[in-house]
């Protein structure tokens, strides 16, 4: 439909909860927010039940701010810490079955394209490392090989946080976690490489150290998915509980890991690059 779905009929606004009034009057709908605007507008997500100091929560908050069209977005998730926050956001959220995000998103996106031929709907699959590359591996890879037009965002905390700290495919080799009592035997999975092999049009690795960059990366991924083909963001979102990172040091850890092995990297296909150049030039 349009932004009109958000606006109450005349005379009704004052009777709605203050939360809703704030979303209508001071929300991000129809605007493009910058990182420096944080704290000055009503965000799509505010309250959540995540652990104190959780870096994943910061990243999810930034993803919501980065959505280019939140009024036409649907997020698909699966079991894991992330969905506890995502489900509190002001965007329809499909909390599916275990590891089904990219299969569900494939059907959803195609269905939405049939129903709304004149209105692009952004579908974003956002969930943890285990949900995407362990239990969801098959659906993830095939959605990429099919070049499905939605964005995939991995909240990579390198552990099964929500079930209490078991190793995942994204855990580093040697880390002692539950179900890896002698340390993880295998290497961290190279999902960036897999995405490249599968021909994903926009691939990015990022840590939540630079909010502006996160917003730009999220927008790029969603716009490429909307117009060109699959996109993938792999975000380092540490688990301060399972990795025993003191709460005040969570951001320090993000900077350290970024410097050590999680530096910002973009892999963009030629056609996606051409498209992004055009879009970003136009905006300037």
């Amino acid at each position: 439909m349009s932004l009109d779905t958000i606006k109450p009929s005349p005379g009704f606004l004052e009777h709605l909860p203050i939360e809703y009034q704030d979303l209508v009057n001071h929300g991000q709908y129809g605007k493009k927010m910058k990182a420096s605007d944080m704290g000055k507008f009503k965000e799509l997500i505010e309250e959540h039940p995540m652990c104190a100091g959780c870096a994943m929560t910061l990243f999810i908050r930034l993803v919501f701010i980065g959505l280019p069209n939140p009024e036409h977005s649907v997020i698909v998730g699966t079991a894991g810490c992330g969905r506890l926050a995502i489900s509190q956001g002001n965007v329809p959220f499909i909390y599916g079955n275990y590891g089904d995000t990219n299969s569900t998103a494939s059907g959803l996106k195609r269905g939405l394209e049939l129903r709304f031929p004149n209105q692009k709907k952004d579908v974003i699959a956002m969930c943890g490392d285990g949900g995407l590359v362990d239990i969801g591996f098959q659906g993830l890879m095939h959605s990429w090989f099919r070049n499905e037009k939605f964005a995939t965002i991995m909240l990579d905390n390198e552990v099964y946080g929500n079930t209490g700290g078991q190793e995942s495919g994204m855990t580093l080799k040697g880390k002692v976690l539950k179900m890896a009592p002698r340390g993880k035997v295998d290497e961290k999975m190279d999902v960036m490489g897999l995405a490249k092999v599968a021909g994903v049009d926009y691939i990015a690795r990022i840590a939540p150290t630079n909010p502006g960059r996160v917003l730009r990366t999220v927008r790029r991924a969603i716009l490429v998915a909307r117009e060109i083909g699959s996109s993938y963001i792999q975000a380092y979102t540490s688990c301060n509980i399972e990795y025993s990172i003191p709460t005040p040091d969570v951001m320090k850890d993000a900077f350290d890991i970024e410097k050590e092995r999680y530096g910002f990297e973009e892999i963009v296909s030629d056609r996606a690059k051409k498209f992004l150049d055009e879009v970003e030039k136009k905006k300037k």
């Binding site: 649907v74 329809p92 299969s103 959803l108 195609r110």
Partner: protein
């Protein structure tokens, strides 16, 4: 095998030329032409008239015959979106995804494929999505086999989804079209499975009378639904529309319980629509009989012939054919069987799920001796003679 050729610019999808009508008109009013076609072809003819937006599937014997036909229908423009997905968890998830978008989605599978997709399928009713799943039953137990056996149906009986069991090719056509409409009524908003015994029906020809393909069912109206489609076309609210109700508190338990109650209440509400479109949720032959056979699926065909042969020999045997396994037509069955003296329940599976169903609804309401069989499975056949022998034994055992 040949290379793909792009559609010409002036290509018109054939589905665009069909006229939209209700299932009532399609199934009960339009004139029909008699064909002699396989169950898979009957499914194709139903899909052609069902106004399917999105069909997704993964091949498995004996389903492949149908879903590859669906591919040709997509190519001709009767289906708008179609693809072969990664495997059945992917199929069932994507089918639900399409249904959540507010379009009419259909898929099909068989035995092991159904089991593989089970986690997703069993989540459909609670998600209040409305896809139609065609299920061509086959053996699921080890050793692996492709033969007919409908044990898989028992795994879905308590999911909350609508379940129909077709006797033959004709039923497979009619039930599929009925399911496509009933699932989408606002007071239903549930998925449906239309099962048929594989091979015996899918890979055999039978008489099927069908209306003209100039017609198709009315399109799904994505706005009409018990829960909103996941299309972000509703005013935003800071609640998840798929609430993860996992908190350990009384409100969460209560939400979950009431949600399940509503799913099963909706399932019961679907009964009235099938009552009309299928001309009753059960079929009764010889209602005055003392000896009755009750069954569903292709066991009905064997029972039907046994009833005819017994009649030729002066023995009146009644038959109750169950069309809707869910909602189970409890009242109709109790009324049909309350005066029966002996009841036989032939089945094509080892567990005897229909026997358990019938026993549980008749308990305390009927004095008949209920015979636990005859039963064949693993692809074994059930000759009419076998049903007649069991009837004779029942008369001897329970004079």
């Amino acid at each position: 095998m040949s290379n793909a050729v792009a559609k010409p610019k002036d290509w018109v999808p054939k589905g665009d030329l069909q006229k939209e009508i209700s299932a009532e008109k399609m199934l009960l009013e339009l004139p029909r032409e008699l064909l002699f076609i396989t169950g898979s072809e009957a499914a194709r003819e139903a899909i052609k008239r069902a106004n399917i937006d999105c069909a997704i599937s993964y091949p498995i014997t004996p389903q492949s015959e149908t879903m590859q036909q669906a591919g040709y229908l997509y190519d001709e423009g009767y289906i708008k979106e179609y693809y072969r997905a990664e495997e059945e968890i992917g199929v069932m998830s994507a089918t639900a995804g399409a249904s959540r978008a507010g379009v009419r989605a259909l898929t099909a599978t068989s035995g092991p494929g159904l089991m593989r997709g089970m986690e997703a399928i069993s989540s459909w009713p609670g998600a209040r999505v409305t896809p139609v799943l065609l299920d061509m039953c086959r053996v699921i137990n080890t050793p692996l086999a492709i033969q007919p056996d409908n044990i898989e149906i028992s795994f879905l009986l308590n999911t909350g989804m609508i379940m129909l069991h077709a006797e033959n090719q004709q039923d497979f056509f009619d039930y599929t079209l009925a399911a496509c409409e009933v699932t989408e009524h606002v007071d239903v908003t549930l998925p449906a499975m239309v099962s048929v015994d594989g091979f015996f029906v899918t890979h055999a020809r039978g008489p099927v009378s069908i209306p003209s393909d100039e017609y198709k069912l009315n399109r799904r109206d994505g706005w009409r639904s018990a829960v909103p489609a996941m299309d972000n076309e509703n005013p935003p609210a800071r609640i998840s529309r798929d609430a993860p109700i996992q908190k350990s508190n009384f409100i969460s338990y209560h939400m979950h319980a009431s949600w399940q109650q509503e799913v099963f209440a909706a399932l019961e509400r679907s009964g009235k629509y099938f009552e009309k479109l299928l001309k009753g949720r059960i079929e009764i032959i010889n209602p005055e009989a003392e000896d009755f056979i009750i069954c569903s699926g292709s066991a009905v065909s064997q029972a039907r012939e046994a009833v005819r042969q017994e009649g030729e020999n002066g023995r009146v045997v009644g038959l109750v054919k169950v069309k809707t396994l869910r909602p189970f037509p409890t009242t109709s069955i109790v009324n049909a069987l309350k005066n029966a003296k002996r009841i036989l329940i032939p089945e094509f599976n080892q567990a005897g799920w229909m026997h358990k169903e019938v026993c549980s609804v008749l308990y305390g309401k009927c004095k008949a001796n209920i015979v636990d069989g005859p039963r064949v499975f693993g692809g074994m056949t059930m000759p009419t003679e076998m049903v007649i022998e069991w009837l004779a034994k029942a008369r001897k055992d329970f004079p």
